[in-house]
């Protein structure tokens, strides 16, 4: 070994070190930091201390009924009320899911909002969403909402190409007139900086936000303008050192620390066009933005938004405790979404039918010995989803044994030995080797064979649901 490389002698042990400070099986794994993060901004090193997160009231805001609904046919009133009800239960009494936003344009939009509020939940608070049109404040006032999102698009793609403003100044003044109208109406404006990751940050975004700060100084605190950073096309990146306007850390820093927009008035809204949506949103949290805007299961315009359930798990991982979040409701919501025709891919994290299902026999063997080996956390307790094995040609006797014992609900010394299942394991293998089967073996088919090959056990333990 050359002198410039460090030597790493083996640290021998006879007992495992399962790193349980980080991987407490009863919770999603902790995200722990060694110390501050350093970013070079405007040529100077800037420190961000992740430990500061503990003192901030980071929250999740929801846009399932707004952006989420732009990606699908409209929900019915009853469906939205049920989803809202479950979302309130999921976020818990501390309001980890702090707000959710509603369209206000149709009579049905307004009836839905009223029906959700009639449930009497404190959280999520209901807010509105309108275009940057002064006349639309009538809708917000009539709905009795205290806060509304306003579309204040900020890239030149939008300012010139879409909205056809004569100049940036013309656009900025128009936006400010709408913000003034919000103040006059006694409604808190939440300015949605659409396309911010493709905008001129120093040339338009910061001057506009500075103007918002000055205007907000003239109104009571509860009306001061909030700023939603909208990564409309998913161009944002979380990597340290990335340049503006794509850098999430730098965007947050410029607004929060250089301009002075408080963290509790900043919100990140992302899109998933480049598979970065969740990491970008969590990065925004880390660098000083308190609100992470999300939708259930990431359903949203085009490629979707940060998945709300993923944000909740991230929240717990960063905090190290549940903070009142009822994680099992994630599964309840996924089941409900499926029941109303929303497709959730089988391998989708946390809620897909196969998210904690393993097919390989060697993995099933690991699960049989200690489920922590191949399960991300206690998915039975936190999501109501025990780890499972799918039966294929790769399952082996271990996979078959795991399936059968899960099916019968047998644990510890009560689990049936795989020796007793040799006929079933043989039947499975023959499906592929003799009959050239190309599909996995479904639960119902397995149940029939368990009854045939393990009649005594069936009589004693079955029938019970395997799912």
């Amino acid at each position: 070994m050359s002198d410039k490389h460090r030597a790493y002698p083996l640290v021998d042990r006879t007992e495992p070190n399962l790193l349980e400070d980080t991987f407490d099986y009863g919770l999603p794994p902790r995200i722990r930091f060694d110390g501050p993060i350093v970013e070079y901004i405007d040529g100077k090193p800037v420190e961000f201390n992740p430990a500061d997160l503990a003192a901030r009231d980071i929250v999740i805001t929801d846009t399932t009924f707004r952006d989420g609904q732009q990606a699908r046919p409209p929900y019915t009133l009853d469906q939205m009320v049920h989803i809202y009800d479950l979302m309130a239960k999921l976020g818990g009494p501390n309001g980890v899911i702090r707000q959710t936003e509603f369209f206000l344009y149709t009579a049905n939009d307004r009836r839905t909002l009223d029906s959700c509020r009639d449930l009497g939940h404190k959280y999520p608070e209901c807010t509105g969403w309108i275009r940057a049109d002064k006349g639309d404040f009538r809708l917000v006032r009539e709905a009795g909402l205290s806060e509304t999102g306003i579309l204040t698009s900020c890239s030149d793609y939008h300012i010139f190409q879409k909205m056809k403003h004569k100049s940036r100044k013309d656009c900025l003044e128009a936006f400010c007139e709408v913000v003034d109208a919000a103040f006059e109406a006694g409604v808190r404006p939440r300015c949605h900086l659409e396309d911010v990751t493709r905008a001129d940050i120093d040339g338009f975004v910061l001057p506009f936000c500075e103007r918002l700060l000055r205007m907000s100084e003239q109104v009571p605190e509860h009306l001061s303008a909030k700023i939603r950073l909208c990564d409309t096309m998913g161009f944002g990146v979380s990597f340290p050192g990335a340049m503006l306007p794509r850098s999430v850390p730098k965007l947050i820093y410029k607004l929060n620390q250089q301009l002075g927009v408080p963290s509790d008035r900043l919100e990140w809204h992302g899109h998933n066009d480049f598979h970065k949506v969740h990491a970008n949103a969590a990065t925004a949290w880390l660098y000083g933005c308190d609100a992470l805007n999300a939708t259930l299961f990431g359903f949203g315009e085009r490629t979707g938004n940060p998945p709300l359930e993923g944000a909740l798990i991230e929240y717990i991982s960063l905090r190290g405790y549940l903070c009142g979040i009822e994680t099992q409701v994630i599964t309840e919501l996924a089941d409900y979404m499926r029941s109303i025709g929303m497709p959730i891919p089988d391998h989708y994290p946390l809620v897909g039918r196969c998210f904690n299902t393993t097919s390989a026999g060697i993995h099933a063997g690991g699960l049989r010995q200690d489920e922590r080996i191949y399960n991300i956390f206690d998915t039975t307790a936190l999501l109501g989803r025990p780890p499972r094995v799918a039966i294929t040609d790769k399952s082996g006797a271990d996979g078959v044994a795991h399936w059968v014992n899960e099916f019968f609900g047998l644990k510890g010394e009560h689990r049936i030995s795989k020796i007793k299942m040799h006929k079933l394991a043989r039947w499975v293998l023959d499906q592929y080797e003799q009959h050239k089967r190309l599909t996995s073996i479904g639960d119902e088919e397995m149940e029939v064979k368990v009854r045939e090959f393990l009649p005594e056990h069936w009589k004693k333990y079955g029938p019970r649901s395997a799912c």
């Binding site: 026999g361 082996g396 006797a397 020796i419 007793k420 040799h422 394991a425 043989r426």
Partner: protein, 86 residues
């Protein structure tokens, strides 16, 4: 023991579909005789049936060779009070 070994060879040849004359005590089930995962389980199940015993799964799966299987089965028969010739 020779009787036990003969019976182990007979079961092994039947499960793995091999000529019994070519199975030797030092042969490893997996690497020499080609036993795959499910066949290892079938072998143990057939040994249990042949000798009327119950084997502990992990210990039985830890046995590597034909001769080792005969020794392990002899020990298990003694422990479980099963009489075998040889």
């Amino acid at each position: 023991m020779s009787n036990i070994r003969d019976r182990v060879v007979a079961v092994t040849s039947r499960v793995l579909r091999l000529d019994p004359g070519k199975i030797r005590p030092e042969h490893a089930f997996a690497s020499d005789l080609g036993a795959e995962s499910v066949q290892s389980i079938e072998l143990i199940a057939m040994f249990e049936e042949e000798f009327g015993i119950e084997m502990e799964e992990d210990a039985a799966l830890g046995v590597q060779t034909v001769g080792g299987a005969a020794d392990y089965i002899a020990k298990t028969c003694r422990e479980q009070g099963v009489k075998v010739e040889g």
